[in-house]
Symmetry: D2
Subunit: 312 residues, 4 copies
């Protein structure tokens, strides 16, 4: 069984690389916006902040470490939250590009995608008539031919260079049942050590879909493969966000919110900020009798190296 | 619920592109061997023959239509079995290469892989000391960096050119739960029409693993997504072959055997031929009270165009 | 699949026959208390009120129709909520006793327990040192030898005399998976007609236990047996109440609260009233984006005869 | 997870108390018939023989120890199989009657039913026009009002007097998910100690039904409650016998056959003997690669006291 805790870790994924500026004015773009929304999310109750960077002019996802370095120190200074940097980056980046910022920043935690897959956003392209930037529509449309690359060799490389090399631990992103088996392969080889964080993701076209039944099965499979060696969290795309993470909490898991995962706060209603989503899930969790983990408690559950041992 | 039939369709995957000549002397390589084993498998009870081609000299998987044409007509002449040609080919082939033979042969049925994924055979490379051919070891070892490419655009292309273009129907190969959702995407768009054949695959590193619990969940998910619009079959890799397909039959599904999927007939015992595996599952199914579908019955269940309407 | 509705029906089970006066001062005992708490629960959002009667002096469950008639008309007058009367009564009553009040009142809805089972409360007896009434401790202690009797003949009798005879429909209480099969038996015989209400119950010693995994399996089984002929609701005993009914809502079900099922409002904190529990689940459901069904909407979903066609 | 063994224990339930003489000429009635069929079943591969007695004249189930004593010593003398005596008896016997023979014989193993339930055979009564004996039809018809009584107090009594008193261990018969929780209650109280045998039963009207999905869920629940403290076996009623026990074997369980559970050997074909069913499942299990446990191996897996330490 996944390690159970009385307290639930809220991760907030502040901007990501999936949504584009046209989709919501609340999506943070500039380093300043990313820092401000991150800090607000932490104050609302997020123990972990999962971060991507965007080109401040166009809002396009960027792997540039210099941009990351414009918001990472500010966030570190203003909050105690765990900083978690993407290794997935944005569509079309090479693995080397995706690793540039994490290897430079040496954060406590990074996302690590546990398999290659189609990652298709092209149905979104038809939902908007006018676009703020010219890159947005082709970025989305092209995903009908896009493969999110994470081969076994890539994953081993990241585990070795970022994990063993920098003392970074991972949010192992599992978009399907097979990704759990991929993770088990690395656990068997000794490259991943407990307690490790499994982030299960529902509702991306190309991965496992957003039917509630899938959440329990994902956990059952992880229980079978990992016993109590893992800590489990869930995120879901778009309108599935709140019900799916509530489902996870009922099953003993942790939760992830944020505008990377969903731009909404209710049916047809855009969220005004990341903090708004943190506050909403916090209310639900507290009504259900759960406590909310502090950054210190999250660090202990995940055996992180400490917020003062990073390179930013 | 998947369409249920009193009779079970046995598919035999005669040689595939995964195993290499070193692994078993029984693996058919030449057109003559492929034809002979196919015909024997049909006589033993296989209603469908799933076929790849290999270079007659080296045994390496080949997409060359000329090689296919050396065994397809012989099989057609000698048996009434449904001929099913791969569109997956072998590791490293482009999609265009993979389609060359099917577009030429216009068979009743082709495999169609329902998503991109890591497809890793590298742990096999360490199991053999001496190799019959020089290509075998690097072919296997390199798969730690291999992605089996099947983007949404690729799949749509195959559905249009081979499906609509040639009247070919598909064995939709689903290596994970997400692949069912990918299939549902094409069903929703009207590119796949009932009754369609879902082949669930267990035990390939990169896809869903070989735990028996996964079989029932795969079916539950397909039932939820497809109701009675689909016909369900199962295959499993290696030593999981017989128990997993027996599991499928207990749940109302059809079965696939063959040396593409497993080289064994029992614990540590290599199968002497494809027909031997067909005979074994036939015994189990008959003891459990099932009948075995003839090619004509399989054609009707799958709404195939007929064995006389192919281009070989 | 269970019939889905945008709106969720909240049932409130106001006093029941399981808890005893010692356990909570908030447990309504007298007709006046039962009426008052029922009306408050309805105003807080309960569309259905599930009712037992108690001896006004001792608080012991009573089947006496005269006692029921002291609160039923008041509730009818003050609210539009659906009145649902128990046919389970209290421990040790005969089936004829259990039916006296319902046959007299001819309500729109009655509970109907779908099988015989051990119904054990004896572990509760050890939790209290002093008792308000002398009947309480032996009432609980004796349940280690108690069978809650609901044979096939009993159920058929109730379906005929109360169902066909009075136009009453049923909350089919299912304490285990087998009870769904018992219900399917009566559906097959035409004695139960859609849309019927299945109330799944978790956490009574003798029935299915309170593990969250059981909720989804109960629904899967009901989906398999009943398709969309049924409306699904969940209740859970004690501290499992809120998480289990939230789980039900995530799976498309309706919910039941009330002091019959749990005396608590939070960890170790007794609820002050039934209405308090109604308000709490209402908050959670609304945060998750659900609407709350009115009595009129509940009547339509359940095809009830109407609040004006009862005999009180 | 249930304790896994390479070898599978076949239990044979030779005559039971459910079927009546009219239903099959092969049903053993007299002590001589019961002894002969038991010995043959053991020779065919059954490691455990589960036994009821019947009135030699009428074939009606009897609790009379004197009748048991006419076949128990013969079986003990002729085979090494584990003798397992019912504590369920036949419909309508009191718990004291049901215990008479086991307390006298002090066998290594006895069945123990883990809860009260409706146990309905009345639909069978309509399938036969002429009856061999006058008791048969009313015996079956009356079950629409029959409760199979096994209260918590009854179970505790049996565990103490037969279990602790005689060194007998138990085949814990679980007809529904709740029965596993009842068993967990006794495990928690220390009255049942590992390794204990859980026999899951499917297809009795009143208990969990015969849908294959239920088998895996029964095991998942037992895994959750008991970890590796238990040994798991399955039986299923009537035509579900062979597929359900094959299902159990695929999930790592043991199997029970015998004319108590099913009178058939194939679709519409009555079995000629118990041994015929043992042989059939043995073939299937061996084709699937399983070994068959000897009585000595079964004794070790179940920690039995030994065949020489009984009172017959
Ligand atoms: Zn991200
Ligand atoms: Zn193939
Ligand atoms: Zn009640
Ligand atoms: Zn028995």
């Amino acid at each position: 069984m996944a390690r159970k805790n009385d307290k639930i870790i809220i991760t907030c994924a502040v901007t990501g690389g999936v949504h584009t500026p046209t989709m919501s004015d609340a999506l943070p773009i500039t380093p300043d916006e990313i820092a401000t929304q991150s800090i607000d999310a932490a104050e609302a109750g997020a123990a972990i902040l999962h971060l991507h960077a965007r080109d401040p002019e166009t809002g396009k996802p960027t792997p540039d470490p210099a941009v990351f370095m414009q918001f990472l120190p500010r966030i570190k200074q203003a909050t105690d939250a765990v900083v978690n940097i993407t290794t997935g980056g944005g569509l079309g980046m090479t693995v080397q590009e995706r690793l540039a910022a994490p290897l430079k920043a040496e954060p406590e935690l990074c996302s690590l995608n546990m398999g290659s897959m189609n990652f298709a956003l092209h149905p979104l392209a038809g939902k908007y008539k006018e676009w703020k930037h010219s890159w947005e529509k082709p970025y989305l449309e092209g995903t009908d031919d896009f493969i999110f690359r994470n081969t076994f060799r890539d994953i081993a490389y990241i585990l070795q260079h970022l994990g063993e090399g920098c003392g970074t631990r991972f949010e192992h992103e599992c978009y399907d049942i097979g990704h759990l088996y991929n993770l088990a392969h690395f656990v068997d080889k000794g490259l991943v050590k407990p307690p490790f964080l499994v982030q299960s993701i529902f509702g991306i076209l190309g991965g496992i879909g957003a039917d509630v039944e899938n959440v329990a099965f994902m956990k059952q499979t992880a229980d079978r493969l990992f016993g109590d060696d893992y800590v489990w969290s869930v995120l879901a795309a778009g309108r599935f966000q709140m019900p799916f993470i509530t489902q996870a909490a009922l099953l003993g898991g942790h939760v992830r919110v944020g505008l990377e995962d969903s731009l909404y706060i209710g049916k047809g209603k855009l969220a005004g900020s990341n903090a708004e989503q943190v506050a909403k899930i916090r209310t639900i969790l507290e009504e259900l009798g759960h406590g909310i983990a502090t950054p210190a408690e999250a660090r202990e559950m995940l055996a992180l190296k400490g917020g003062d041992r990073v390179a930013f």
